[in-house]
Structures are given as C-alpha cells and as structure tokens.
C-alpha cells in the first residue's frame, strides 16, 4: 500500500469541502453582484454564528449514534427564560444567563436519560422535547413576540463589538474551538466516538455508554441554549417560534461536514464549513429573490444528497462516479 498516496488522497478528501464552499461562493457572486459586499457577508455571518454555535454541541448526538431534534425549540425557550429572569424577576444578567444555561443542561439531561435508560429512539424523545419545549415557551411568553430593551450588558452580547468584530463571532469561534478540542483531544471525545462506532467494544474497554450519551445530549442542549441567548440578544427579541426549523439547518451543516448519522465519526471543523454553506445557500436564495419557501426545500434536498455522498455501499452509478471525481477513495 502506498501510504503517501493514501495520505494525499485523504488530504484531498479533507479539503473537498473547502472546494465546494469556494465553488458555491463563486457561483453566488456571479449570480448576484450584491453577494460579495461587506454588508451582505456580515448578514450571512449572523445566521452562521447561530448555526455554528448550535452545531458545536449538537454534533455529539450523531457521533454517539443519536440525534437531537429539540435544539431549535431549546434556543427559542432559552431567549424567553433569559428575558423573564432579567426583566420580570429582575435578576442581574450574568446570574440570569447562568440559570438559563442550567435549565438547558437539565433538559438535555432528561433527553439523555429517556433515550439511554428507557431505550426510546432518540429522534422520538427529542421530537417530543421539541414539542413540549415549544409549548413551555408559548406558555411563558403568552405567545407574544417580546422585545428586549435591557439590560445593556445582555444586549452587548449580540450587538457589541470587540476590536472591530462583532462579539457573536468570538463566541462562535470560542465554542467551535472548544468543541473541536473536546472531540479530538479529550477523554470524553474518545469515548463518544467509541460508543458511536461499536457500543459493545467500547463497553468491554471500560467506557460507560449511557453516561457518555447522556453527556452528549447535555452538550447539545447547552450549545442550543448559548445559541438562543446570542440570538435573543442579537435580534433584541424573544419569541417562541424563533429558530423553529433550525434543527434541520443544523443537521444539514453537520451532515454536509461529513459527520455520519450512524455514529462513530464526526468533524467539528467540517460542521463549521457546513454551517457557512447553509448560511450562504439561505442568503443566496434571498439575494436571488427566491421565495422563502425554497429554504426548507433546498435544505431537504441537500441533506439527502449529503447523506448519499457520505454513505458507502449501495449507490447508483452516477453517484459512484461523482464520488470518484471528487477524490473520495471510498471503502
């Protein structure tokens, strides 16, 4: 076996996403002259930030072989809880956000417990969670779209700038880097991958699969909470239907980034690129004056395509030849 060639191929495969991203940018800038303007790109950045923050935690659910469909509702609820704590209860914003985060962790913990200890499929548990979290959000906010005017410290999270760059970017970069380190360089990351790859083998090697999975759902819900706080601060608004379909965007970003939904592999960097792509695609649809209805449509198609490209095994010939051209050595 020629190892250098294999390594070169691997590098090409790793960079494949970048090529696709650049291609996407090129196409969009040709189609719309407004695309490559600073104003537009910073617009894209907002949505990329929210999706990217969500992805940083969400990714652990598919890595351990599960899924978390409750991230969108969780984010919306987080904004509402934070607002209630700060502006109705009157707690200073820092402890209020800490309490909000604790709520998110608790929800994730419940998702984890029900999936692992009761053997209920993760997508059912988290879909149910999505539903009741939405209900709680509606109940607490009375279905209103609440405008958040204070406190200043809280609003600074979304609209403030540091060294000329918006604060949400720092937050996203921070959580993405943290998540990358967690996945690649910590004991938990190793355990998560092992559980997703072969639960029995992991168990025999001394890993506790249930505890690892519960932790994955806690991380997912926590990241969604952070995203919700940033979103509420950015838009100065808390509304139960905010981020309603975000779980689909997050799944798209992660799947496009090469994470397998079957568990055992995942890439935070890939998910970030995926998030940028999702942002570009949505932005492109807007720029091209496509109706908003194209958003879920395109997302659905992209998910299916990405899954087919990620998956080995039975494939129609045209996809196989496409994979070959894209430089994927396959298995």
């Amino acid at each position: 076996m020629n190892l250098t060639a294999a390594k070169a191929r691997q590098l090409l495969k790793d960079l494949r996403l970048f090529f696709v991203l650049i291609l996407l940018m090129a196409v969009l800038s040709v189609l719309s002259p407004r695309f490559l303007t600073l104003g537009n790109l910073s617009n894209v950045l907002w949505s990329v930030c929210i999706i990217g923050i969500m992805c940083s935690g969400f990714i652990y659910a598919p890595i351990t072989g599960g899924i978390d469909l409750s991230v969108g509702s969780m984010a919306a609820l987080a904004g509402i809880i934070a607002n209630v704590l700060m502006n109705q209860v009157g707690i200073p914003w820092v402890p209020a956000l800490v309490i909000t985060l604790a709520c998110g962790m608790f929800i994730g913990f419940i998702n984890g417990i029900v999936t692992t200890k009761f053997g209920v499929p993760a997508f059912i548990v988290t879909m149910a969670a999505k539903t009741y979290l939405f209900g709680i959000a509606m109940l607490v906010s009375n279905g209103d779209m609440i405008t958040i005017m204070k406190p200043k410290g809280f609003l600074a999270i979304g609209v403030g700038k540091l060294f000329g760059l918006p604060i949400p970017i720092y937050i996203m970069v921070a959580v993405i880097v943290a998540s990358h380190i967690l996945l690649k360089h910590t004991v938990f990351g190793r355990k998560a991958i092992a559980v997703g790859a072969n639960e029995v083998a992991a168990k025999l090697s001394g890993v506790d699969p249930d505890r690892t999975r519960i932790m994955a759902y806690v991380l997912s819900a926590t990241a969604a909470t952070v995203a919700g706080i940033v979103m509420a601060s950015l838009t100065q608004q808390a509304y139960a239907a905010n981020a309603g379909g975000y779980e689909l965007d997050v799944i798209t970003a992660v799947v496009v980034g090469g994470t397998s939904l079957m568990g055992g592999s995942g890439s935070v960097a890939g998910a970030l690129i995926g998030a940028v792509m999702v942002g570009f695609i949505n932005n492109g649809l807007n720029l091209l004056n496509m109706p908003s209805s194209f958003h879920p449509l395109v997302t659905g198609v992209v998910i299916l395509l990405a899954l087919l490209l990620n998956q080995g095994g039975k494939m129609p010939k045209f996809i196989l030849s496409m994979r070959k051209r894209l430089g994927d050595p396959g298995k």
């Binding site: 360089h185 004991v187 092992a194 790859a197 072969n198 083998a201 025999l204 001394g206 506790d208």
Partner: protein, 511 residues
Amino acid sequence: MAENSDASEEVLLDCRKICKSYNGPMVLSDVDFSMKRGEIHALVGENGAGKSTLIKIITGVTGRNSGTMVFEGKEIGHDHSRTGAQGLGIAVIYQELSLIHGMTVAQNMFLTKEPRMPVLGIINIRRMNSLAQAMIDRYGFNLKATDVIDGLSIGQRQTVEILKALNGKASLMIMDEPTSSLTSAESAQLFGIIRQLKADGISVLYISHRMEEVFDLSDRVTVLRDGRLVEVLEKERIHPNEIIRLMIGRCLDEKDSKCVMERKGGEVVLDVHGLSSEGKFSDISLQLHAGEVLGIGGLVGSGRTELVRAIYGIDAHDSGSISFQGKPWTPGVSQSIRGGFGFVPEERRLQGIMGGISITGNIGITNLDSIAGKGFVSDRKELALSRKAVGLLNIKPAEPSLPVGNLSGGNQQKVVVGKWLIRDLRLLIVDEPTVGIDIGAKEEMYQTIARLASEGVSVILVSSDLPELTRLSDRILVLRKGRIVKEFAEGAVTEEDVLRASSGILEGGAA
C-alpha cells in the same frame, strides 16, 4: 409417506467430490456425502473440519467450487440458492431466527402460505388453526396452535421451527447443534420428534458435539476432518470412542497430541469460589496462579463465555465470591481494567474492534488512564503507545492511522490483544482468540500467550480448538451444562480426553 418398503434405501441426497475454498486454503476437498430417505444421519468433526461449510453448500447459502449434487434424482446446478433449497424441500432448523415474535404458532407455521377463503383472499383463521392443531396433535406436541411465540420456551420454539419446516413439505431437515440451549427434558422431547420424522420418511441431518446423542439417534455417521471425509460409519460401528478417534485422527501420532500438564506453583492471583449465575453456570470454583495458562474447554453453550464475562465484570453473578491478589474483589469492567485485567472477547467484529476507527483509536480507548491527564488526551503519548503495540505484535500494515476494519482478520485480532499488552497486565482473558485468522497469525498469537505467561501474567484461555487448548494450557477445566465436570491438572492429556469430557463421556464408555 413411504409407499414401498425399500423407500429407506432410496438415496435422497448425493454429493460427490465437493470442493470449496473461500479464498486460499481448501475448506472442503473432494468430500462425498450422501443421505438416504428417512434416515437420521449425524455429521461430526472438530471445529474447522468443514461441517458448517458443507451445510451451507447443501442449503444454498454459499456456492461450491466443484463437485456434483443430486437431490431426489435431480441434479442441482451451481445456481443453487437458499430459496431454491427451500423449494426443493431442504429445511434448516434455526434456533429462533426464523420465528416471528408476536404471532401465534399457527401464524408462524403458515407464514406466506395461509389458507384463504375463495373470495377476496381473506385468511381463513379457523381453518389455519385447525390445520395447525391437527399437525401438532399428530406429533403429540405439547402446544396449542393459538399460543403466541413470545410465551414459549426455547425448546417449544424449536418445535415450532420444525413444524414450520414440515408444513413447507420438507424432505430433508438439517439441525445444527439443536440441543445446545435445551434442558434435558426438552432434548429428550426433541429426540422423540426426530424419530417420528424418520418414521414419516423424512431425513434428518444432525450436527452435534454431544456424543451420547449421536450415539443414540443416528443410523449413520459421517466424520469430517480438516475438510476431508474420514469415514462413514454404519449403525453397528457407531461408538463414541470410535467417533472421537476418527475425529481427532492425530492421536496416531502420540507424541504430538499428548501434552503434559504441569500445575504451576506461583502465588494464587485469582480465586473464584462457588460462582453461580442462574441459567448460565453454577457453583464454579477455580484458582489461577501467577504465570499460569488456564484452559477452559467445553462445547459452545456450556457456559464458558458467560463465566469469563462474569469474572471480568460485564455481567453480574447471583452468588459466590471472587478474590483477586488475595483481596475480596467485586467485578466491574472499569475496576477490572484498573486492576490489571485484559479481555479479548469472542466475535471480534461485533465485540472486539471498532472497525471505522484507526488502530490508534482502538488502542487508545483502553489506555485512556495512561495517555490522558486531567481529561485531556496526549496525541503524542497515544501514538507512541500504539506504535509500541504495533511493533510488539508485528501488526501489518504498521500504520497506526489506518481504520482497523481495513486490516486482515489476524491483524484485527492483534489490535484487540495489543491494546492490553501495553498495560501493566496481571490477568488476560481470551475467548476463542484464533477463530477466523490465518495460520501465521495463529502461531504468533500462541507465542504471545506463551511469552505473557513466562513474564508472570496469568491467562484464562477459552477455546473450542482442541489442539490449541491442549498445547497452550498448563491446566484445563472442562465445562458442561454450566458446571465444571473435569479438571486436567497433572500428567498427560490428549485432545481426545478433553473432547470426551466435553461431550459427556467420562472415563470411557457412553454417559
């Protein structure tokens, strides 16, 4: 069924010069095999003798490379398939693989063949139940057609399997180790059924390691060894000792097969006392000394694997005690690993490796304690550790970043063993370590185990491979139906001795 008296002499299945190799070594070479109508025919041989491959060829699961097959006078081509075999009337009794839970006995028996009303294709449930019940009654089974599968015992489920096959008009019924998970009463019942089948003119091909069963039941016995036909024994020549002699074959060469067992006198590392787990094993006591290789023999399903899993701490036990290095020990996987245990499970692909992950990742996961500090893993240490394991066991290709799933079987197994060897090991448990790996890797595995023992590590070796067991072990315990039936500790032991004990023939003669 038998229209004329000489039906029993009619040849049902005739295989000639069957050859098969998967890729490389011949698994079957020039095997002749025939079955008469209405006979009970036992197929015996050690593990790896080629029994299961022959069955797979007959049932169309796998193809043959050369040779001819004639069934009921018709030549069977190379396009023989599983469904084709079913159509011809060749049925295999799986233990419960082919039953549908949640359905009744009758529904299972008539699946896809339900009797229907003349109009609209509506299933005539009453007729289906009465047909099923009639069949059950004809064989005198203790079953109701309307019983739901989920509530039946394993023995009863097997009966349903047989009924289902009978309903498919089977003329040849193949049973692969049918009694391995049955109670003695259930086994006795099964033998009754088999005799009834014979009386109905149905041929039964029976595969078993339990000599007394083969001895009691069979009209003829075919013995395979190393992929070749050794002999076909007629009824009057069937005797357990004779069968075992033919199966082993090698005992003509006394020097090779006779191993001298020596009790090693190091300190006691592991002391198991009266360990029991309901339905798995009972009252197991054993002592393991430093630097000793303790072999555990017995048939598949005798409780060997369950015992070592309980010692390692994967499954809980009901009663009994374990002490490790002189102190009372509560089993638990993490604790075992910390205490210096290593565990190489059976079924490498399902339990041993994480196929999609690199060699480094597979090795790292059991050594997180030594490569990680405060929750962070040191890539450098992990890589160094996996390089060490790769070098130690000569894993090829020696590239730690390769996914383990891409390696050959032998190298996969080396990774599973290797991840323990780089630890401060006190006790290594290996379960069927050489299944499905090539000769070279096998030899290396043996040397590794011997070297470990010489370094003072205690080894528990579970194996169905008798030459392997007798060659490596300092002592052999034989399990049968969850109990220790024999200990070979000092003096000479042959494969034959172990096989006799496993099969229930103690000290010569039938049990």
